[in-house]
Symmetry: T
Subunit: 156 residues, 12 copies
């Protein structure tokens, strides 16, 4: 079965594919960990953070879909299975069980910063190989940085 | 930090909590594996199955959320992290890379049947301990069985 | 051509299939007879009953679809052809030609009561064989009994 | 109870009423048989035809309502009861049980052609007696012929 | 100031313009008289007729607009001023002051029949001169006859 | 048939009823004359004024309805028949036939000013007799003055 | 805990607060008694009055909310608890059990008139102390009087 | 005046009617007390709890309506008048005047727990007498327990 | 590959197919030329004509689709490729580059008149061969003539 | 260039114009300062106040537009340029840079109170000169006082 | 008539204008050829490809509009007339008459690849001359490549 | 109080922050000056420009919000207070009082060109320091240039 063809060179396809697969794992794990905190949250700030986390999850799911479909469009098969996310993710760990609101904010700030750091490297990496994929990553990085600010502002 | 209280006895809470946590893992893995097939699908039937898989993912996400919120409402903390899903899931494995349409239909039929089998056990298990949780599981089993039919009908 | 498989035993599938096929015939005939009265109605109360009958038809069509799709999902082929409805229906007969509003209300009260009586038997019959199908029949019986009250209240 | 009056002569009312009653039976049977195939369909093309059949049923129901209300508006009581549809319909027969996708397309092509043939006769028959009813039949014939093309195109 | 030009001959324009101007006066007066009854209605059937009259007014206004814009499109200036409607209308008279529900139904039945009679003459008159205008009048006559039935059904 | 009762004294009811009936005639005539200009308009500014006139008509119709329903609510039967509007209206006359855009703007400015002048008198007249009706007239006067400005601004 | 401050003098706040608290009790009781009749209604006019009562309840709830929030905005704590409504309400009593349609209309006419009478006193009482609150009461009185007319019209 | 008939035995009707009437009083009082806290709330968490309380009130009103209509549908007249709610309610008391946010959360947790306890008894009581009513109570109990968790989580 | 069958005779199919193919070319060219003027427009009337042209394009595209689908439904393959439109169109030519508003209105008036002239011939040509296709052409001619008036009115 | 004319006397126009221009500056500055706090907010209450401030800004912008359009409608040109707002505003000053949530609430309470104080003076000033403008200012003062309560409640 | 001015240098305007005009021709031809296939399609996969082609046409039309408006915004007049598209297009040719589904997919894959190849050259060409235009072309290239994947996947 | 952190270097943050603050002042002033012209406009072209200015204001407000939130997301506090806008803006001055339509178009063309010139410098300035912010500025520049064309086209 021949793969989907695209106009990228093999080298550019490889670099871009790696960036997109990395972004996919980051975004899928963000969605899972965001829901985990959304459900197990406790504390006086429960309701507002519960809603805020759902905004983040919703954004992460939408962008994960765009990233995966971009990968296959350039001829690279994305891998978003649970095992792959569990093994490859660099998203900071979240403990099981109830999560106090203050801890949830601190953890989410770290998680978003960690993902943003990798996304900024992917923006650089894809600039020449594929400006079309780069543009997608630039756009989702703006969303991630907006949420990073709105979570972090609660720690100031 | 005291857990969320509910009116279930410790025994009933344990049985119900186990059923809900099992359902959560099944539904989250269904959503991940459904998206995996949605992205990597190939073949003449690509478009219609691509859309059908998104219907399944959308249902799985919505029901996973309801199940996890039901668990915390009875005082049991749900666990939906990538590592937990990867370790605990009994959902049949899906290979990485491109998936031909015929194989995707066959795989999805097996996956749904496997989940439905466990859900029917959970309906029985929760009947006496918590009819409120049982009612939720009955409802989502109807959705799963409807999708099972609509996928399986393509194999007849 | 192998039938759709489900996890019900042959015995349970037969009992549940019979209940669902019976419900389907009742609901399709309710939709046809409801429209018949909706069109041929006369009398000072024309407009309000004309609209009320459309609410009933709309509910009957939606539930008939759910019931038929439930039947096929458990591996039983539903039969909703005109001949089958005409032969198998136990819904009380409605004369052709113009229908006075008072007679329409009385006829509709009888029709709904007749269907509800059979639905309540189906709730009992399916409780053990298939609680998932039972839950569907319980839900539509509530709708039928609500309409039965709102029609019947006009006779008090 | 005096019938609804209209401005048509007795002769024109009779011709037009016959055409509308015939159209009503055709459309109601189309809706029933369309749902029958929608539920019992099997085969690789299941999903796309399942949806297509619902488009046809939805159109048939809407037009049946318009036709029946047109009949009563000219003083002719329409008859859409199950027995009448079963007895008077000339729509080709559909077997009970599972229907393979290829057979469903072939059957639906025949059914639509059969109905269209009668509708075209009704367009001619009503031209002078009642151009208002004729205009309604012309409009629904266009819808029927559009669906006939879209079903039939799958056989080419 | 040169008038709007159209492709109709002077003769056809004159016949069609007369039909459209007549239809306009009928529809504007129907809207005014419908509102008059809508406001001044009394009796046990107040609410349902109050709403029904608004449906008629809404239809009359929409069709009046279509008819007037059709007139100007063929180069005939429509006249819908109060004085013109008051002088030229053949719509049966409605007394000032409170209107009992039974009388409102009877009056509205007469009014609609009177308008329909003239519309049917306009359908004949415009058939050859301008089938485009005729098609518009056929369509609105269907609406008028539907409302005529639904009002009149309350007298049976 | 006893009239609708309200809590206003006979004197206050009479004053308020007169104000509301006057407002009704003004608003109904505004709607008719607004449509007349909307249809017969010519000139380079056709499209923008054509749309602006429809905004005015739409406001006039809505407020006429509110005013008439207010009248009947205080026990005064409103009269909005064509003959009454034709006889009682003080709205400046509009010639039949095509209307150049500049003339339409000038005429509409005069018409709105004429109506506003009477509405302001009604605000004063109803202040003590019925502040509830006054509030309605104040509100619609604001709408009239807004449209007066937007029409008049085209003359500056 | 200091109360919410506002710019009204103590005297004006007291007068306005009394008016708003009285209006709140009236509107909450209207909503409860409206639903009571909505549920227990019988008779040939069941459906239309059932719907009409829901319109009244919906208006009463919306306005009760506005009135209570207005009270707290001027520094007066509203009291809308069941005991307070039961003790302080002057709304005429409604018997338990089934309510015939004619009796429901008569009772609702009395109830609305009783509330309107008190609202008109509150309009006067608040004119100088707080025109902002007065404007709110004027607006809701118009709604109450509209419903009073539409209920009462059925008795004429 | 004969009561609405249903297919329940007298004994089952009585048991079910008692459960539904009890649920109605609980839900109506929840709606009133929820609004009371919504209006009189103070403290840094004002806005988020203000909104959360409105979600609860909205759910309570919708379910109260469903419960009352279910009662009348089985032939039992519901009683939702202020006096009945004030006398029969077992919902914990709420003080008049301003309510600090912490106290509001604690009070609401108690109120919801108290209602849930009674609802769970009603689920048991209605299981055999009327599974249709039971299904309604199961559904609303899930909503109540969800809100109980989301309120209570703020105390952890 | 057998063509789509229809019930028209070969002769009627040919006449109707020619009319529909001609209409298709006219409408596609109208959409292209309308957009061309929409983009390149200049002058004080820019904004209102820019919007008006988009209304025309939107209508033309929708009707072109209906016409092409009608052609294939009667068994005639429509041809809407650029080369065909360029070669077969009789729509008056539009110069490249900026278009002054006055010129755009004059050109559009000519273009619409030219298309309407051909459409009226097609209405006559299809009357006997296929009243269903004729009805479609009558409907779109009304739209074309309405836009012709609204464009032309700016030249008066 | 002659100004827009209105029916107010020169004296009344001057008084009303002054009130409206003052209100405009207040509302525009409220919108700017509300956004400033919305962006620069920090602290644990970030999210809920961030959203609350946007509600205030949205209301301020809508009312500023209504006030400015009211001014021009009575013949007074409003001035909402940055320089004018900066020079004429009496809204309390807000420091640049990050704003802690507690400070933001305190500042917003002062700002709203300051604006409300001036609005209440404008209500008095415009009562006789122009009750139409007064009604607009009364309405927006109610909105301002509602937001003042909801902000201030967080300080209690 | 002076052209629209922009801030681009003559050189940059020329390069960017050439890229945009080329993109316009590609997108307009894609829309025409996509509709051509949408109408003339045959084969078992008719319905799903028929719908997919409409998604492509809809995207192509929207982007063509954006590209043309971008051209005029930088001072270059776009040319989208039929003759220009027919002469200048490099989009692969499509035969007239019926198109089998397999051929349609193959043809569309070639067409999209051909357009994407030119778009990628335009991305490079416009990077320095006008990053604003480049960003538009990058965005639409992502859409084209997504559709290219979804069409091509059916060939794997 | 520590500022919001981001991953930009101090140097890059400074450059980007300066660009964003400049863009914010430009966009806020554009919104204020756009409304100023929207309100004070006069002349025959009043209505169409009045609406066009609102489109520009709406775009300016939305983009100002995005720019300010981007600034704070990278750790730079935006300043959008009236005094800052008044002092720092380079947007060309607009006279107070009535504005003739021709002058408004000329002024708006200058204002938009002036802002676009600065935005293009910011696109260059931010390319290396922060491609994420640059992408935002590129996007809003496209909107500004589109409006610049549509305003300027009226001068040609």
């Amino acid at each position: 079965m021949a793969p989907i063809t695209s106009l990228l060179t093999a080298e550019n396809k490889k670099i871009t594919g790696t960036a997109l697969q990395g972004a996919l794992v980051d975004l899928l794990d963000l969605a899972l960990v965001g829901k985990q905190a959304h459900w197990n949250l406790t504390g006086r700030f429960f309701r507002t953070i519960h809603l805020q986390l759902d905004d983040i999850v919703s954004m992460a799911r939408k962008k994960a879909d765009a990233v995966a479909e971009r990968a296959v469009a350039i001829g690279v098969n994305p891998d978003g299975r649970a095992q792959t996310v569990a093994n490859d993710s660099h998203v900071p760990h979240l403990e099981a069980g109830p999560i106090e609101d203050g801890k949830a904010i601190a953890a989410m700030t770290d998680i978003l910063e960690s993902i943003i750091r990798r996304m900024r490297e992917r923006i650089e990496a894809t600039e020449r190989p594929d400006p079309v994929s780069q543009d997608l990553i630039i756009g989702l990085t703006r969303d991630l940085e907006k949420h990073h600010w709105m979570i972090q502002a609660q720690l100031r």
